[in-house]
C-alpha cells in the first residue's frame, strides 16, 4: 500500500506539472483538493485520466471522483480494489 502511495505521488506530480511541489510535501493523508497542494477540479480530471491509463481504473462520473480523490490513502485503496492489471 505504501509503495503504491509513493508511486501515485510521483505519477500525480508528473501528470499535473506542478512547478512548486515536491513529493515530500504530499503525505498519505494530505487533502488533495483545496488543501495546501492547491489542486482544483481540472487537476482531478487529469488524475482520473492518469488512473485509467496507468492502472486501468475507470472513474466515469464526478461524484465517484470526489469520493475517491480525498487523499492519497483513499485513492490507493480504490486503485488496489479496482485495478484491472498489476501496476508496472
Amino acid at each position: 500500500m505504501s509503495d503504491l502511495i509513493d508511486e501515485l505521488k510521483i505519477k500525480i506530480l508528473e501528470a499535473l506539472d506542478l512547478p512548486d511541489v515536491t513529493p515530500e510535501e504530499i503525505t498519505a493523508d494530505s487533502e488533495l483538493v483545496g488543501g495546501d497542494l492547491g489542486l482544483d477540479s481540472i487537476d482531478i480530471l487529469e488524475i482520473v485520466m492518469m488512473l485509467e491509463k496507468e492502472y486501468g481504473v475507470r472513474i466515469d462520473n464526478r461524484e465517484l471522483g470526489a469520493q475517491v480523490l480525498v487523499s492519497l490513502k483513499t485513492l490507493a485503496a480504490y486503485v488496489e480494489a479496482n485495478q484491472a492489471a498489476p501496476a508496472q
Binding site: 506539472d17 477540479s41 481540472i42 480530471l45 482520473v48 485509467e52 491509463k53
Partner: protein, 719 residues
C-alpha cells in the same frame, strides 16, 4: 438606450429536423434526438448518446459545420434572397471535423486545410447570400451564437447595417465529443436537464440563423428586443457557483430591452443538464426574478447541446414559441430537482407568450442572454449613441520582446519578426497561475499584464480579443494524444485550453473583468473584427475594455493552416493590445474602425473605401502615414490594391507595409495599431520607417489598412 431589430426570417436545423416550426412541433410532442453516434466511430467503447443530425449532408461543403450552416441559411434565402449587409456567425468548430481526419491521416499539404479556419463558415454564407459587407466570426464557446446575434443587433442599432444574417453553427467532431467526455460532463443516459438524477450533457450539432432587419418585414413577426453579455471571470469551465455572471447577462439583456423581470413570459434556459450549470442558472434566475419566476425549460434533453449553435437555435425557436403560443417541455426531465425549484413544464403548454428571455453560457465563463418579443405597433430602430474609443494604454509582444523593445525596433525600421522564447513571454506572470497554459494564453495574459502594468488606469471590465487561429498548441496536443491512445485518453486540460476564447477567459479571471468578453476570429482580419466588437459594446461597460490581437505560431499546425506562413523560412508570432474606453467627447489618441468589406470587385471596393475615408476631408489632411497589412499569400492582390489606393487618393505620403517588420502572423495588425498609437502620441514618423525622411504628423493621424481578400481600415487619431 433601446432599439430593436426585426426577425424577418429564421433558419434552424437540429437533431429533430429542419425548420423552425417543425422543431417547435417536435419539441411539443416530446420527441427526442439523442442516440449513439453514427458520423464517426468510437474505438474506446460504445458511443455515449449525442444529438446527431441524420441523413446526407451537402457533399460539396468543405466540412460538416459548413454543410449545416448552408442548410439553415437555405431556409432563409429561399424566401429572402436580397443579400444581407453583414454576416455575423458564432462557431467553435469551423472546418475541424475535416481537419481531424486529415491530421490523423498525416496529410501535409496546406491546400487541404484551407477550410480549417472558423471564419471560413461565415465567409461561405457570405458567398452563398451575396454579402460583400462585414463578415464577423465570433468564437466564445457555447455562447457564440447568442453573442453573434447580440452584436448583429448592435450593428443595426448603430446604422452600420440594415440587414444582418446572424446566428451560430457547430458540428459533432472528435475534439468536442472526447473533450467533454474527458471532463466527465456527458450523461451516459442522455441529458436530463433539471432532473435530480442528471449527470451531464449530451454533445450535439446544429445551426440556427436569424435574418435581422432594421425595416419591418412584409409579414409581422417577432423582434429582437435586447441582448446582454457578461463574464464570470471565475473558472475556465465551471459556472460561478452562485450564477453571478449568468445573472448579470440576464440583467443586462432586460435593461437593454427596456423590460423588467415581470414582463418576461418564459425563460429558455441554457439548461445543459450538468449538475453545476443547472444549479448555478437556477440560482441566477431566482435572484433576478424572485418568488414569481416565469415558466422556464431547457430543450437540451431533446436536442443535446449544439455548442456554438445553441443560443442561435434557441433564438429561432423563441419565434416559434411566440408565433404558436407554446412553451416546450424539458425533455428527459422525470424527477424535478427540488434544489432548483424552477417552474418547468413537463408537458408542452399553450400559454400567452409575448416576451422570452433566452440564456447561453460557455467555457471561459462566457455568458449571453437575448430577449425576443412580438412586434409592437409602430416599432422603429433609433440610432444609438455615438461614441469613440479613447486609447488609455497599450502594449505589444513580438520576436524583439515586449512593448518598448518592439516599438524601438519598429521606429528604427528594423524587423522584430520571430518568436519570443516562452520564458521571456511569461516573465510578468505568476508561474503557478499559468502552469496549465500553453503559448497563446500566455501571450494574451502577458499582453494584458504589460498593458495594465502600472495600475494608473481603471481595471478593464471587458475583453475583445482577435485571434486568427486560436490555441494551436492545445489543439495539437489534444489531437496528438487522442490519436496516439486510440481515442482512450483525451486530455481535459488541452480540451479546456483549445477553445478560441480560452485566452480571453484567462484575462477576465486574472483581471476581474466581468463585462462582455468577445473573441473574434477572421483570419488576417481578426484584430479588425475585435475592434468592431469593442466599438459596438464598449459604451455599455462601466470601465475600459482590453482590445487585443494575438496569435501563436505552432511549428506543425500554423504552416498547414495559414497560407501566408506556409512559404516562410521561419515562424513569427505575438500580438498587441490597447486599453480603450468609450467616450462621447474623446480626448488623446482614439481608435476607430472605418471600413470592412470583401474585396470581391477590386476597383469598386477600393473606390468605396476611398469614398468612406474622404467624406469629410481629403486623405492627406487626415493621415500623415498609412500602415498597410498585406499577408504574404495575398502579395500580388495587396500590391495591386495599394496602387489603386494611391491613384484614387493621390496620397503621396509614406505607405508602410508593416508585415515586413512584424513577420507573418494573422493578428500582426494589432502590433500595427500599437505602433500607430505610439507614433501618433510622438507626433512624427521616424525617417527609417517613413522611407527616408521624417514625417511630422502635425495633428494628423495614422491609417491602418488591411488588404487582400478583404479590405479594412482602422484609424488612430489624436483629439
Amino acid at each position: 438606450m433601446t432599439g430593436r431589430a426585426y426577425i424577418a426570417a429564421t433558419g434552424l436545423i437540429s437533431p429533430l429536423g429542419r425548420g423552425t416550426a417543425l422543431n417547435g412541433r417536435a419539441l411539443q410532442d416530446k420527441l427526442g434526438g439523442l442516440r449513439p453516434l453514427a458520423c464517426f466511430a468510437t474505438p474506446d467503447g460504445p458511443s455515449l448518446p449525442a444529438g446527431e443530425i441524420l441523413g446526407t449532408l451537402d457533399p460539396s461543403a468543405p466540412s460538416r459545420t459548413h454543410a449545416l450552416a448552408r442548410l439553415a441559411a437555405g431556409q432563409i434565402l429561399e424566401t429572402h434572397s436580397r443579400p444581407p449587409d453583414a454576416v455575423v456567425l458564432g462557431t467553435t468548430t469551423g472546418g475541424l471535423s475535416r481537419t481531424e481526419i486529415l491530421l490523423a491521416q498525416g496529410v501535409t499539404d496546406p491546400a487541404d486545410y484551407r477550410f480549417h479556419g472558423v471564419n471560413t463558415v461565415a465567409e461561405d454564407l457570405a458567398r452563398l447570400s451575396g454579402c460583400s459587407g462585414p463578415v464577423l466570426t465570433i468564437s466564445t464557446a457555447c455562447s457564440s451564437g447568442a453573442v453573434a446575434i447580440g452584436l448583429a443587433l448592435e450593428m443595426i442599432r448603430r446604422g452600420q447595417a440594415r440587414r444582418v444574417l446572424a446566428g451560430g453553427v457547430d458540428c459533432l467532431c472528435r475534439l468536442t465529443y472526447y473533450g467533454f467526455r474527458s471532463l466527465l460532463l456527458i450523461d451516459p443516459l442522455g441529458a436530463r436537464p433539471l432532473d435530480r438524477e442528471r449527470k451531464g450533457m449530451s454533445v450535439a450539432e446544429g445551426a440556427g440563423l436569424l435574418l435581422l432587419t432594421a425595416d419591418p418585414p412584409a409579414e409581422p413577426g417577432c423582434v429582437l428586443l435586447g441582448a446582454g453579455l457578461s463574464c464570470d471571470a471565475s473558472h475556465p469551465t465551471q459556472p460561478h457557483p452562485d450564477g453571478l455572471g449568468a445573472r448579470k447577462a440576464m440583467e443586462r439583456a432586460l435593461a437593454d430591452a427596456g423590460l423588467g423581470p415581470g414582463e418576461i413570459d418564459y425563460i429558455n434556459l441554457h439548461g445543459t443538464g450538468t449538475p453545476d450549470n443547472d444549479l448555478a442558472e437556477a440560482k441566477a434566475v431566482h435572484q433576478l426574478f424572485g418568488p414569481s419566476s416565469p415558466p422556464a425549460s431547457s430543450v437540451k434533453g431533446a436536442w443535446g447541446h449544439p455548442l456554438a449553435a445553441a443560443g442561435a437555435m434557441e433564438a429561432a425557436l423563441a419565434t416559434d414559441c411566440i408565433t404558436a403560443q407554446r412553451i416546450p417541455p424539458t425533455a428527459g426531465l422525470l424527477h424535478p430537482d427540488p434544489r432548483l425549484n424552477l417552474n418547468s413544464p413537463s408537458a408542452s403548454r399553450t400559454v400567452p407568450v409575448e416576451r422570452i428571455l433566452s440564456n447561453s453560457f460557455g467555457f471561459g465563463g462566457n455568458n449571453a442572454a437575448l430577449v425576443v418579443g412580438i412586434t409592437p405597433g409602430g416599432a422603429h430602430v433609433p440610432a444609438a449613441r455615438d461614441t469613440a474609443l479613447e486609447i488609455l494604454e497599450w502594449g505589444c509582444i513580438t520576436g524583439a520582446g515586449p512593448t518598448e523593445a518592439t516599438l524601438a525596433a519598429l521606429r528604427r525600421g528594423r524587423s522584430c519578426s520571430g518568436q519570443l522564447p516562452l520564458k521571456q513571454v511569461t516573465a510578468p506572470l505568476n508561474p503557478r497561475s499559468i502552469r496549465r497554459l500553453k503559448r497563446l494564453p500566455c501571450l494574451a495574459l502577458a499582453l494584458a499584464a504589460h498593458i495594465c502594468r502600472n495600475g494608473a488606469q481603471p481595471a478593464p471590465q471587458a475583453v475583445c480579443l482577435g485571434t486568427g487561429w486560436g490555441a494551436m498548441s492545445e489543439t495539437h496536443s489534444f489531437l496528438t494524444r487522442l490519436f496516439a491512445s486510440d481515442y482512450a485518453f483525451p486530455s481535459p486540460t488541452d480540451f479546456i485550453g483549445s477553445v478560441h476564447n480560452a485566452p480571453a477567459g484567462q484575462i477576465a479571471m486574472h483581471h476581474g473583468a466581468t463585462g462582455a468578453n468577445i473573441t473574434t476570429s477572421g483570419g488576417d482580419y481578426s484584430f479588425e473584427q475585435a475592434l468592431m466588437a469593442a466599438d459596438l459594446t464598449a459604451a455599455r461597460e462601466p470601465g475600459p475594455c482590453l482590445l487585443l490581437g494575438a496569435d501563436e505560431a505552432h511549428p506543425a499546425l500554423t504552416p498547414l493552416f495559414d497560407p501566408s506562413v506556409s512559404a516562410q523560412a521561419s515562424l513569427a508570432d505575438g500580438g498587441g493590445g490597447l486599453l480603450v474606453q468609450a467616450a462621447r467627447v474623446p480626448r488623446g489618441e482614439i481608435i476607430r474602425p472605418r471600413f470592412y468589406r470583401q474585396a470581391d470587385r477590386p476597383r469598386e471596393t477600393l473606390e468605396h473605401l476611398v469614398q468612406v475615408l474622404t467624406e469629410q476631408a481629403p486623405l492627406a489632411r487626415q493621415y500623415g502615414a498609412v500602415l498597410a497589412g498585406i499577408p504574404a499569400a495575398e502579395q500580388d492582390r495587396g500590391e495591386a490594391q495599394t496602387r489603386i489606393f494611391r491613384s484614387l487618393t493621390r496620397y503621396g505620403g509614406p505607405l508602410i507595409s508593416y508585415r515586413r517588420f512584424t513577420g507573418e502572423f494573422a493578428t500582426a495588425a494589432a502590433v500595427a495599431a500599437v505602433l500607430a498609437a505610439d507614433l501618433t502620441r510622438r507626433g512624427y514618423v521616424p525617417a527609417a520607417l517613413a522611407g527616408g525622411n521624417r514625417v511630422a504628423l502635425d495633428g494628423r493621424g495614422i491609417l491602418i489598412l488591411g488588404l487582400g481578400a478583404y479590405v479594412t481600415a482602422m484609424e488612430v487619431v489624436r483629439r
